[in-house]
């Protein structure tokens, strides 16, 4: 009926042999790597070798739940999908909320490790202990919403939770995603394409079991306290009221609103992209939570007119209103909601899809692309109709132009040439989140060293803005002085990034949404360690927790070293390094190579990695207990 959360289990799935088998996680590993993102890092490193084809049989996908997922720990329902990325050829961990993680845990599984390739389209059906690989030929080609509905009908159970790919994943679009229980998405780096390359259309789960904690009553009480503290945070309230796009007015005021492919930092009528507007104008019809979360930042919206089509769907998030909205020169709310819906249903990451199109728009405006080369599309900024058509074509790689763009801006700009790489807002092959890394130096460093590419979802250093007393307290704790809570400074950035890496890692190992520990601070290393101890019945202190975070970040770096990545790959998009912020309060700012080098020197030294190459030193790995796992890539020293 219930199992102790300290006894973790892996479901191994070999799609080539169509075989599944169970495996236990050693308790020592649980304490060392904490769970979730940490165990996933260890598993991926062990079960792949350098140079595997990300879209081939030897790539491995690790679906990982948080170590505390499914308990009353607040906002601890987050899970992750980890594999090698087909967009970057590097480490890829993608986080996702929703309800699949909890369902998997109740079914008796903490990780699902998928290897091999099925001979034809299949889906995985996990019904408590009973696991089946079933034919999915009738589902192939269908959108994500339809697939979820059909699976529920076929399995005769409306309560199943699903993770599905759409046509984009099937067609191996390098920014295709996995849609999870309708309101959530495992988005970046082409994770959907990896699933598609394995012919795995969906994972459906039903879990009827339970989870028990070693010191149940104390656990319940502490988790309840943390939940109430989180709910009292004014940031939580803002997220509930307006969602993540509630930040739009602030970004606009601060001259940090990425627009027109990041060639500008402001756009007229930006309020039409805001969460406040969604609420005031009647677009918002619901607020959704991930499992166990008391913030409910997710939105459910509808269009009010038929102008672009009538939709009701989940989203849009902040990054989406920027990438599909302002970056493409679009502020028409109706058009944006339809574009978001298209990405949801086709199964595409909105950040990359938006930036691929904004790159194409800039290239078109510059006269390098024309209607002939775009297969008939007028790709001027602001053309929402063309954007929608292109989104549909991208998912199916329809036409030579869409087929090219479906490989991301790095490939597309290399093909097109004419310096178009200088306005591809990408690095390592991943499009950057719409945060102005010229104007926020911790972000700049974190983005440059992020193993999956330049975005905020491996490590977000929100505290460097110092908007709240709690965030200033965190900066003081890290650096000794709250005056360092200033995004323009370059001093102490490495310390700030490293603390956030460790906390982010630990949060994602335990299943916590990082909003709770790095935007609000109701969840912190101390209470995370306490909760882990009470839940597992194994003592873990704050220092050990942070070390766990450090370990997974180090494994991720070692994976990339094994793939051939070095210091020179830790860069920002060309525009962020070469073109100054054009207007607003940050006008003139830049994170050029010299500045980045200074930040990287600080960072690698702090980590105990070779400063010239960014390769971890043997002594560092030994100190972290990673010599056996990752020793093959270490540099002497």
């Amino acid at each position: 009926m219930s199992r102790p959360i300290s006894q973790q289990r892996i479901l191994n799935v070999d799609l080539t042999q169509r075989r599944t088998w169970a495996e236990k996680v050693a308790q020592d590993d649980l304490v060392k790597y904490l769970g979730g993102r940490g165990i996933a890092a260890k598993l991926l490193y062990e079960r792949t070798r350098g140079g595997v084809d990300p879209l081939g049989s030897d790539n491995v996908m690790v679906f990982a739940t948080g170590a505390l997922t499914g308990t009353n720990a607040p906002s601890s329902g987050r899970s992750s999908v980890t594999c090698k990325s087909p967009a970057t050829g590097l480490y890829l961990k993608v986080s996702v909320g929703g309800h699949v993680g909890a369902e998997l845990r109740y079914a008796g599984w903490d990780y699902v490790v998928v290897s091999g390739t099925a001979s034809g389209p299949v889906y995985l059906w996990i019904d408590d202990e009973h696991v089946e690989i079933r034919d999915a030929r009738h589902l192939w080609g269908r959108g994500t919403r339809e697939t979820d509905d059909l699976l529920k009908a076929e399995l005769g159970d409306e309560a199943i939770r699903t993770a599905v790919i759409g046509p984009a994943g099937e067609n191996r679009v390098l920014f295709s995603c996995i849609m999870v229980t309708r309101y959530n998405s495992a988005s970046r780096g082409g994770v959907g394409a990896v699933m598609g390359s394995k012919n795995l259309k969906a994972i459906a789960v039903r879990g009827r079991g339970g989870l028990s904690c070693a010191s149940g009553k104390e656990y319940y009480a502490l988790a309840g306290q943390m939940r109430r503290k989180l709910a009292a945070d004014s940031g939580s309230e803002s997220l509930y009221n307006w969602g993540t796009s509630g930040s739009i007015p602030g970004l606009d005021e601060m001259g940090m609103l990425a627009a027109y492919n990041f060639s500008r930092v402001a756009i007229d009528h930006s309020e039409r992209l805001s969460g406040q507007y969604l609420l005031d104008q009647g677009y918002l019809i619901g607020r959704e939570s991930c499992f166990g979360c008391s913030t409910a930042c997710h939105r459910y919206v509808r269009t009010l007119t038929d102008e672009w089509g009538r939709v009701r769907d989940a989203g849009p998030e902040l990054e989406t209103v920027l990438s599909l909205g302002a970056e493409c020169g679009i502020t028409d709310t109706e058009a944006l909601l339809v574009a978001n819906r298209l990405c949801n249903d086709l199964g595409m990451d909105t950040i990359s899809a938006g930036h691929v199109i904004s790159w194409a728009m800039e290239t078109y405006e510059r006269g390098i692309l024309d209607k002939e080369s775009t297969d008939g599309l007028d790709l001027r900024f602001g053309n929402a109709g063309a954007q929608h058509t292109l989104l549909n074509r991208l998912a199916r790689r329809e036409g030579a132009f869409a087929d090219l763009l479906a490989n991301g801006t790095r490939h597309a700009s290399q093909e097109v040439g004419r310096d178009s790489g200088t306005w591809a807002i990408q690095a390592k092959g991943l499009e950057q989140s719409a945060v102005d890394t010229r104007a926020a130096k911790s972000y700049a460093l974190a983005f440059a060293v992020n193993p999956r590419g330049p975005d905020h979802l491996m490590t977000e250093t929100f505290a460097e803005f110092g908007f709240t007393q709690e965030s200033r307290d965190v900066i003081r704790e890290i650096t000794g002085d709250e005056a360092y809570a200033n995004p323009r400074l370059t001093e102490k950035r490495a310390d700030i990034v490293r603390w956030h890496e460790d906390v982010y890692g630990a949060s994602e190992a335990l299943g916590f949404c990082v909003f709770t520990s790095t935007a609000a601070f109701a969840v912190n290393p101390r209470n995370m360690a306490q909760l882990f101890s009470l839940g597992m019945g194994v003592p873990l202190d704050e220092k050990q927790l942070m070390l766990g975070g450090r370990r997974m970040v180090t494994i991720e770096r070692c994976f990339n070293v094994r793939e051939g990545a070095r210091r020179q790959d830790d860069v920002l998009p060309w525009r962020m390094m070469n073109e100054k912020v054009p207007t607003g309060t940050n006008a003139g700012m830049l994170t050029d190579q010299a500045m980045l080098d200074g930040l990287l020197d600080q960072y690698y030294a702090l980590h105990g990695w070779d400063v010239a190459t960014a390769v971890p030193l043997r002594s560092t790995l030994a100190r972290l207990g990673l010599a056996e796992l990752c020793g093959d890539v270490a540099l002497e020293g």
């Binding site: 009926m1 219930s2 904690c213 319940y220 991930c290 459910y300």
Partner: protein, 161 residues
Amino acid sequence: MEAEILNLTLDVAKCTACRACELACSFAKEGFFSPSLSRIRIMQAHEAGLNVPIVCVNCASAPCIPACPTGAVYRDRTVPVVRIREEECIGCGECIRACPFGAVDRPQCKEVALMCDLCDGNPACAPECIYGALTFDPKRQPAEAKRWATAKVIAARVREK
């Protein structure tokens, strides 16, 4: 004045499907976390974008009571609440068939039917609902509260003229 029928108050528009109530209930009743054993269940109606809590509402003419062959299902006037005496429940499922809402159930691993009993008047779930979708006020008369609220609005408007 105590209410004759005591209930959790459900505000569907506010439910975000966080399922903290399911966790609280299963923990309070079973000592571990298991939504399948929760006496309150959140149903996600995706098309409408709404989440609907389903829980026993202590009907005045509760069909589960006459349906029960052993008398295990009864109205406990001390709380007050309709509940199940587990020692007398044979797990036949008649109450489950009788309940029009699906609020009574017998999960696979249980021998007896489960139904919300308001935790004897101090429900574990309501304090966990941050959104106010689930509230519990033992003295509340919902119709009377609405009469007062409406009256005040009308009175204020009449005064303005």
